[in-house]
Amino acid sequence: MIDPFNIIITGVGGQGNVLAARMLGNTLAKSGYHVTIGETFGASQRGGSVMSHLRVSKESAWSPQIPKGRAHLIIALEPIESLRVLAAYGNRDVVVISNTRPIYPVGVISGDFAYPSLPELNSAMGELCDDKRFINATEEALSLGNPILGNVIMVGAAAGTGLLSIEDSSFESVISENVPASKVKINMEAYRKGKEMVKAPIKF
């Protein structure tokens, strides 16, 4: 593993970005890594873009902000947010995992801006990185019974890339500490689903 390994989780305020970052961070900390998470929330929660930076290292704590152009993995809970993050922190070798369900900015609702189609977005991203994988996390979560499981699917997808050595048992112990016992099973199912889905992303 590259040390420090730099992960960005991006999305829109209200999507559970902070929780997803803590879920992944705690899992990695349990797997024996030093983890530093930098979070942006507060005003940005109100419909704005939200981002968490995770630095994962065997050695020490790192700064809570990733330097420009130095991300290794981008997890986008909302599709167009991946492009915004690529522009600032991307490089050709970065791996991007993106959810497909859009949340329209008010400027799109008002008709001031257009929202790109997925194939359009895919090819725009292709100009900035080689490895990009779209998965229908929200749809899959809805079929599991709750859209919020989408974030667990995305964390599972991150584990499924094999870029980090994450033990399923570490994730299970983090989930067990954070949800009622009756919900552990469905969360583990979502996590495993994510691991599979990232190996067969949507084809364009």
């Binding site: 530093t36 704005g48 704590a61 902000q65 801006f113």
Partner: protein
Amino acid sequence: MLLSKNEGKELLLMGNQAIARGAIEAGVNVAAGYPGTPSSEIIENLASVAGKANLYVEWSVNEKVSLEVAAAASFAGLRSLCVMKQNGVNVASDFLLHLVLSGTRGGMVLIPCDDPGAISSVNEGESRYFARIMEIPLLEPGDFQEAKDMTKWAFELSEELGNIVMLRSVTRLSHASGNVKLGNYEPVQGKANFRFDGNLLDPKTGPVITAPVPMRHNQQQGKLKKAIELFETSPFNRYEGPEKPELLIITSSACYLYSREAVKALGAEGRTGILKLGTTWPLPPELLKKHLAAAKKILVVEEVLPFLEENIKILAMENIDSLGKISFHGKNDGSIPSVNEMNPDHVIKAVSSILAIPYDSMPEDYEKKGMILSFTKSPNRELTFCPGCPHRASYWSINRALTMDGRNGFVCGDIGCYTMAILPAGFSTIKTAHSMGSGTGIASGFGKLKSFGMEQPVVSVCGDSTFYHAAMPALVNAVHNGSDMLLVILDNSGTAMTGFQPHPGIPSDATGNELPAVDIEGICRSIGAKTYTSDPFDIAGTEKQLLELIEDNSGARVLILKQPCALSPEKKKEKRYTVSVDSDLCRGEECGCNRLCTRVFRCPGLVWNAEKGKAMIDEIICAGCGVCADICPAGAIKRSEVKP
């Protein structure tokens, strides 16, 4: 986790959690504060264990009172903590000026959390300068472990010196997480007793007062001298790097992590040393002299103002005979930007330029392509009110009433979610926005300008928490001075922006105990303001009431628009209405209303179906407030009450 007895256990903790744990390990008894990002989680975490840990935790009415509440505990011999965001220190500073003279007894720590870059603020104020003008010790943790360890130490230091100690955090520590090893925690009981019967001049047993001022001031400066001695050998000041570095970086707080990253990124470990300071006021002169003597080039990395830089320069000047010529880099010579928060890239740029080490963060063509693609394919996400937010409905009515009145009236804004009405989200209704309570103070002033020919109606807005915090005195001022203005109180039953903390209008405290609520309407009436209350979701009724009150020119008036926040625990996930668009009635672009629904009202739950050319409801996002049904001129938006 906060009360874990598992000493040595390593956990991933948020900076604010680490601070709370540090206070617990120190045996804190009383904690008070006023909510403000990025500080709020410290009090929230302590409140969550208050019962088990025998703590009194309070959300006070404002920062000044919270400091007074915490000081009382210290006077009674207990350890106390006071927490606020950066500008809160301005509010508390009058009491602080006097507290530092009288001194404290039980260990007392003030924790301001600054917000460089104003990520969740309308200023990027610096609390560090207060430590200097108030002549008290200042500590700045450089990582998450230190956030816990230094908080604990701050209480001991305060008791050793007999004065309050300031520990300053920043957004990138408070709202970041890292590995923290827990220390020892022993539950404390704490016995409060205020002694005042001793000698008038005895700081431990006499009355707690500031007189005689020169004598107390002298004592206070003596405490600061003692702090210097302790700081000279503090383990929180550390040096890493070669014995004689070509460049010495002096830094503190989160900037230490950026500096370390920059040196590594440039492979400059052999040429650069980092002096990380944890005790930043008063500076320990011997330690600094030793390191200044070892390098001829100094780079000071800090945020936001050149606090360390200027103080180090004074020290270097005083020792110019032994230190000789040193070249300083930092904010003043432009090596480091003089505004906004720092990040690794700013430090990399500075070090790369001073040491002439090339660094390429991103190939030029990649950067250009990224900028164009994100600009064209990733439309900007403007901040907006949540679906179902009462503020959107309130501003809709305020904006329409002012337009119908036709005299070019305007709104003086205040601090909360509702500040966003400077943006199209609130129809750009707010025309001034400054500090807590200032909207009403400014309106009170505008309302007296008639004799100078000003004919515009004057409206101010404030939230419920802000009303108690600082708008109340401004309203008293407006009523007493006969100012012609209307205060609209946007009462959403909680301190919504910072995470729904209770305030004096809520019948419970920080830990959930029942308390008497203080009634806003009753206060306004008793002050002598004509006071009315309306439900902002009743668009027609609210608009009518607003028009009448705007036209009524008889001194200060108040309209309370009361409707709980869409995210409030009582409302969350509960839809009052099922809302739908009748696509036969929706006339789309042909309507002539300029798409009031989606172009002007702009609720995230009401979207435009471009294919059909009609408005539609996004069921997942819509909160079911039903307000949009009242704004559609064609009556195409339908709402039906959800049966419980």
